[in-house]
């Protein structure tokens, strides 16, 4: 469904991504793990069109989207929940979700999608009118994910959804991701929380300073010595 070939990304003269290739198939959960600064966020930003690539290509459902504008990629079904719970702080929960469907002209459908998100995250429903900036960290993360689901995307790019959350909430978020996936949305997940991310993933890639150093089935990587040493603390 999503095929990235030989992608290069530069920030000025620094090359953050060095010729990586990643494939995501329909219905999969694919995880990207790696240390801080490895380039995980950069890869997601490049897929959604927020960052520009200097080499290589991205194909989505058979179409070359390498040069496509970010808004067109959203229309095509790529949705990105950026790193660090970027909700719109001065807007209510409801307005945040409405903006998630900004590209849709269908008001009735937007309302339905909001109901769907409230079904997945009942906590958000109770806080419909609350300013997003005053939500707790976990609630903001739910809102960021919910907002990314508003247009019923084909693929969801999640950047560290468990960042800064208490263990119980991490579990809850991972369960939700699993649910979203089983209802048909393909997921590309970036995580620091390697054990959970690998357990959830069908397949995973391990990233080191802009290069892929390992890839394979989630459970296999979970068992591999290299991964255990580097990311799972032995």
């Amino acid at each position: 469904m999503l095929v990235i070939e030989q992608m290069d990304v530069h920030y000025g003269i620094i090359q953050a991504i060095k010729g990586i290739s990643i494939t995501v198939n329909y219905g999969e959960v694919v995880s990207l793990i790696g240390a801080n600064g490895a380039g995980k966020t950069t890869i997601l930003r490049t897929i959604s069109g927020l960052a520009k690539q200097s080499g290589g290509s991205i194909t989505f459902e058979g179409d070359d989207i390498t040069k496509m504008a970010a808004s067109k990629r959203v229309e095509a079904g790529i949705s990105h929940a950026p790193e660090g719970r970027r909700v719109f702080p001065g807007m209510s929960v409801y307005e945040n979700l409405e903006l998630g469907a900004y590209l849709s002209k269908d008001k009735a459908k937007t309302k339905k999608s909001i109901e769907m998100v409230f079904g997945k995250f009942p906590r958000l429903a109770q806080r419909e009118k609350q300013m997003a900036g005053t939500l707790s960290g976990g609630e903001q993360q739910m809102l960021a994910i919910g907002r990314a689901l508003m247009l019923d995307p084909k693929i969801l790019l999640l950047d560290e959804p468990s960042m800064g959350l208490a263990p119980l909430l991490v579990k809850e978020i991972f369960n939700t991701i699993k649910e979203i996936n089983s209802s048909g949305t393909t997921i590309l997940l970036v995580e620091q929380n390697a054990s959970q991310a690998l357990a959830l993933a069908d397949r995973a890639y391990v990233l080191e300073t802009g290069k892929i150093v390992l890839s394979g089935k989630g459970e296999e990587l979970l068992k591999s010595d290299e991964v255990r040493k580097a990311y799972l603390g032995g």
Binding site: A69, A70, A81, P82, F88, P89, M91, E98, L99, Y102
Partner: protein, 325 residues
């Protein structure tokens, strides 16, 4: 869906009635001589300041793009109108001038917005400041604008009717824009540009649209200014003028049109009152600003609008009625 629509028309009718009453009130007060020419000058200043500040609020308050160059756009409208009135000193000339001036300001807004709106925060402020300076220097050196001496007017086309009409039109247009889905897009840029882009908002385009739209109304305000106050020169449209507008916006509340209008009225009145005490004027003015900002750092209205408040009460009444029944 039908209920809000009827409420809407009722509400619009109320607003229309309010607008018309204000118009006729001032109109009659003037024809009975209760408001003299001296008062009309203050009223003109209020109208022009409202237009300038509301259009600047669209850029700074709603879209979150720091601009220090609004006076530059104002001067374009002012010069265009003044020049048009020279070749045709009547109302038609005024309308032609103000239209050309506003459109020209919009075009310049687009041209300047494309390279500068990539900058953020302070950098954008400096860039827009530089832009306004360039416009000022151009007017200073052009022959047709008569350099530093400026232009004398030939015909006062702007009267209370024009002042009021154009101000109401500007406020309505900007208010409608802000409450449309385009306005939502602009506000989302202010709230979080990255998230906004990730939602598929064309952030570059919307920043330019807000900037150009704001420039358009600043141009119109400039046109009103030059046709009402006769005399214009480049010095009137310097850095301090842009700061004046920014002060009104910040004081009223970034992102509140109601707040901007209230603060434009208050500050214009304050300037008029303080005119008689010219030696202490700036001190008193500044002290008042500092005091207000200390007690209302979010501005007089924050991001709240009068219509929100009314809606809230209306909804509450309805809910109360529902719980009773």
């Amino acid at each position: 869906m039908d209920v809000p629509r009827t409420v809407f028309t009722k509400r619009n009718l109320v607003w229309l009635a309010v607008c018309l009453s204000i118009y006729f009130l001032v109109f009659f007060l003037r024809s009975y001589g209760i408001l003299g020419n001296y008062h009309e000058i203050t009223i003109a200043q209020i109208c022009i300041n409202i237009m300038l500040a509301v259009s600047l609020n669209l850029i700074v308050g709603f879209t979150g793009q720091f601009s220090l160059g609004h006076a530059g756009f104002m001067s374009i409208g002012a010069y265009a109108t003044s020049l048009a009135l020279r070749s045709r000193p009547d109302t038609i000339g005024f309308l032609i001038g103000i239209t050309i001036g506003s459109v020209l300001a919009l075009v310049v807004g687009v041209i300047i917005g494309i390279p500068t709106l990539r900058l953020r925060g302070d950098y954008l402020g400096i860039a827009t400041l530089g832009m306004a300076e360039i416009i000022r220097v151009v007017f200073l050196n052009l022959k047709i604008t008569n350099g530093a001496a400026g232009l004398m007017g030939t015909f006062r086309a702007a009267n209370w009717t024009w002042l009021y009409l154009l101000t109401v039109m500007a406020v309505l247009a900007i208010n409608n824009f802000v409450n449309s889905s385009h306005g939502r897009a602009c506000i989302s840029i202010r709230e979080d540009e990255t998230a906004s882009e990730a939602m598929g908002v064309n952030t570059t385009a919307y920043k330019i649209i807000a900037f150009a739209f704001g420039a358009f109304f600043a141009g119109a305000a400039g046109g009103l200014y030059s046709s009402y106050f006769y005399f214009i020169k480049p010095d009137l449209f310097g850095f301090l003028k842009s700061i004046d507008m920014l002060v009104i916006v910040v004081l009223g509340g970034l992102g509140s049109i109601t707040g901007t209008i209230i603060s434009a009225i208050l500050l214009s009145l304050l300037t008029t009152i303080l005119q008689d005490f010219s030696s202490v004027r700036m001190i008193v003015y500044s002290v008042i600003l500092v005091i207000i900002m200390l007690f209302r750092p979010q501005g007089l209205m924050g991001t709240v609008e009068i219509s929100h408040v009314i809606d809230k009460f209306a909804r509450k009444d309805k809910e109360d009625a529902n719980t009773v029944s």
